[in-house]
């Protein structure tokens, strides 16, 4: 974060590296493979290096032309070299503020700040990347301004409401439909081992199923590992993540709906899941799930505490549930 005249700030100088991290790794892999000469590539590696250089230069230019400024009650973000884009995000309109730390950024002490507004798409209101402390400070200032306080107000303390032990999270994933399918596949594996002739018939389908299911299970575990829900005067805080971490702050009155889900397999255990809806346009879904409209308030928990959480988020006692009147029984269910 470099200071500039007029209160403008740059992103962290390392951000091009992190942003192009995945692409750079891919290019390096290609370069490595062709350099090892296994594929009879006897020419120069000029093209490979040009590709790598293009990726890096693009990221650096993007960094050079991007700047941001918190101007009273408006966050301004300017970006773009050829197509200049200047965005005014009124702080009062904030729906949620996320601090996202992918693995590489976390290793370098960086964090991405994502300001979500209703009607914004995934690219709006992203500041990638800031130094970790600067991201947390900016979040505190944004939220303080959002609640009509002086932006310099320090971040209020928080009270932890719920956390999900790893054992329970693993149990919940095991008791989900996907893992049942995996169990089925393991059974198939056993059959294959006993009678190798079956392998020829079902080997490939087996592999495909495994290749799709394992990442699914892994993704749930990695995004919801170490899930902590806390309450503070500026909203509810959600922290989660194994390799990359996500910290979401949602002001309480920005919660549009609360949902309690009880999958069949969880019911004997008395478990349920809580989800909340936040306004915004879905945009492209992020791998860490932070781009979604529907956020998990509690990935797995017992009914009683979950019910209390739900009351807290709704900030009111729900009216008693009523069945449709008896006369409606003969009517056509719609």
């Amino acid at each position: 974060m470099t200071g500039q005249p007029g209160g403008w700030h740059r992103l962290h100088p390392l951000s091009p590296l992190v942003r192009s991290g995945r692409a750079a790794v891919g290019v390096l892999a290609i370069v490595g493979i062709s350099a090892s000469g296994q594929f009879g590539h006897d020419g120069s590696h000029l093209l490979d290096w040009a590709l790598a250089a293009a990726v890096v230069i693009g990221a650096v230019v993007n960094w050079l032309v991007t700047r941001w400024k918190l101007d009273g009650a408006t966050l301004r973000i300017e970006t773009g070299l050829l197509r200049r884009d200047s965005r005014q995000l009124p702080v009062a309109r904030i729906q949620a503020v996320d601090v996202v730390r992918p693995f590489l950024a976390r290793a370098l002490g960086l964090a991405e700040l994502r300001v979500r507004l209703a009607g914004s798409s995934h690219a709006d209101g992203r500041l990638a990347y800031l130094p970790e402390q600067a991201a947390l400070d900016l979040r505190a200032r944004l939220l303080a301004a959002h609640h009509g306080l002086d932006p310099a107000t320090p971040e209020p303390g928080e009270q932890i409401l719920a956390s999900v032990p790893t054992g329970r999270l693993v149990g919940s994933v095991l008791a989900s439909g996907a893992s049942l399918l995996i169990a089925l596949l393991v059974a198939e594996l056993v059959v294959i081992l006993v009678a190798p002739a079956v392998l020829a018939a079902s080997g490939s389908t087996f592999l495909i199923f495994l290749l799709t299911l394992v990442p699914m299970v892994w993704r749930r575990l990695a995004t919801e590992y170490g899930f902590t829900l806390a309450q503070s005067p500026d909203g509810i805080r959600i922290r989660r993540g194994l390799l990359g971490t996500v910290a979401e702050t949602i002001p309480l009155r920005r919660v549009q709906a609360v949902r309690m889900v009880e999958p069949v397999l969880w019911r004997p255990l008395g478990w349920c899941r809580l989800e909340i809806d936040v306004a915004g346009s879905p945009g492209r879904d992020h791998a860490d799930g932070s781009g979604r409209l529907r956020k998990t308030l509690l990935p797995v928990g017992h009914r009683e505490p979950a019910w209390r959480l739900m009351l807290l988020v709704m900030a009111a006692d729900p009216p008693p549930l009523v069945r449709p009147p008896g006369q409606a029984r003969g009517g056509r269910p719609r």
Binding site: L82, R83, R84, R87, G119, S281
Partner: protein
């Protein structure tokens, strides 16, 4: 009495008792920019199609092709001029009105209080003509109002005014 939002068929009468602000139009440079865009596209198309026709079927075919492209460009001039002329915006006390379209007239009224954020973009061509596009985002993804071809200073003024008004009149969501 002043009609807000321009042409017949789609007009908004001003609120009784309020001073009716006059509708404003994008900069005249927008039309100049569009002219250059059409002329450039037509030149490239004429050159490309003419060369292809000349190679494939000889000079007469090439002449016909170029003539067709030129006629299409003239038609485009006419359409685009009307479209540029039809684009107006009015800053009223509580809302911004953007009227546009020739064949299908469209008029959007965006209350300042419902505005979520403002976006100012300037593409390479627009920047060459010192123009910018202001876009208002509302919570509903479909109801974005866009005003193209504003002079840079006017775009900055409108952006700051909209941001300030959105702040002052914030409502809901």
């Amino acid at each position: 009495m002043h009609l807000v939002g321009g042409r017949e068929g789609c007009t908004v009468w001003p609120m009784p008792g309020s001073a009716a602000p006059a509708p404003k139009s994008p900069s005249p440079r927008l039309w100049r920019m569009r002219r250059w865009q059409i002329a450039g596209t037509a030149a490239v198309a004429a050159l490309g199609a003419g060369t292809a026709a000349a190679l494939a079927a000889g000079a007469p075919a090439a002449a016909i092709t170029v003539a067709v492209v030129l006629v299409a460009a003239l038609a485009a001039f006419w359409f685009v001029r009307n479209r540029v002329r039809a684009w107006t915006y009015t800053e009223r006390e509580d809302d911004l009105i953007v009227a546009r379209g020739v064949l299908v007239r469209r008029l959007s009224v965006v209350p300042y209080g419902r505005m979520q954020f403002v976006d100012v973009t300037a593409g390479p061509v627009e920047r060459a003509f010192r123009l910018a596009t202001v876009k208002l985002h509302t919570a509903a993804a479909a109801s974005d109002a866009r005003i193209p071809g504003l002079e840079r200073e006017e775009a900055a003024r409108l952006r700051d005014r909209l941001a300030a008004l959105g702040e002052a009149k914030a409502a809901g969501l």
